[in-house]
Amino acid sequence: MRMDKRAEGSFAETMMAMMVVTVALTVFMSVFAYSLNIDKEEQRISTDFLDSLRVEGGEITGIDESYVQEECVRKGYTSMVIRIETAGDINRASLSLGESSDSDFTFVRGTTSIPCDDGNTVLASYEVVAFA
């Protein structure tokens, strides 16, 4: 395939150029989307601690300040806040760990069930805020 004197290519060359652009664009988009997904994964806040929670003597146990500090070191957060509060009037308890910050944050909220020392299992709402 040769260009003529005016540097104009043939139909086949034009199609080939278009295909190269298309492939390059598709690869770029794929890599871009994949990298965004990876970032989302990294930002996910761990809630593994929920499984170890209990209500004992009117207090929520199974997690303490050391978890917050270790998680900050592990994930690179400047600070982190965990709030847990049982719902309903039976076995009422609440817990707040960590300190908030003025920096950007991500958070996760939800509900979990917590076993109690008197045999009940109650519902609790939780909120975990991680500051960048």
Binding site: E8, T26, A33, A87, G88, S125
Partner: protein, 145 residues
């Protein structure tokens, strides 16, 4: 338009098409955070995990752990639904906070227990048939916001 013009036009059209398709794929590939709001289905599932002492609805019953829907069934049969209404109302109210209203209906053997207050527009709804010791309890929860 001569042959070269046609080729250039075709080239541009295909390029734009590919760009649009790639953009759509990118948009769907990246997870987007939807509007935050309470999920009635999730709340029903969470409430199903509550287990309380049977003493709370029947004194002298031996302090056995009892699932909350079993408690509802027993309370409906006994006609004393005050505890389950107050307790479940408090639980759901605490989860939803003052920002949202709700109506919960619990039906067992033709008797319907209804509590909560709906205000605004329904934002989420769920219905469940839950297998209890005494039979099926039908639960519906509508969240308003």
């Amino acid at each position: 338009m001569n042959g070269k013009g046609m080729v250039a036009t075709l080239d541009a059209v295909i390029f734009v098409t590919v760009l649009a398709v790639a953009s759509m794929m990118l948009f769907t590939a990246v997870p987007h955070d939807g509007p935050e709001g309470p999920d009635a289905s999730g709340i029903c599932d969470s409430v199903s995990r509550i287990t309380l002492s049977s003493e709370l609805i029947a004194e002298g019953s031996g302090d056995r752990p009892m699932n909350v829907w079993d408690m509802c069934a027993v309370s409906i049969v006994s006609g004393d639904t005050g505890f389950v209404e107050d307790y479940l109302g408090g639980v759901i109210g605490d989860i939803l906070t003052d920002r949202y209203g709700y109506v919960m209906k619990v039906e067992y053997r033709g008797t319907v227990l209804e509590f909560g207050e709906g205000r605004g527009n329904p934002v989420s709804e769920c219905m469940r048939d839950i297998d209890t010791v005494g039979g099926i309890v039908s639960v519906s929860l509508t969240v308003y916001g």
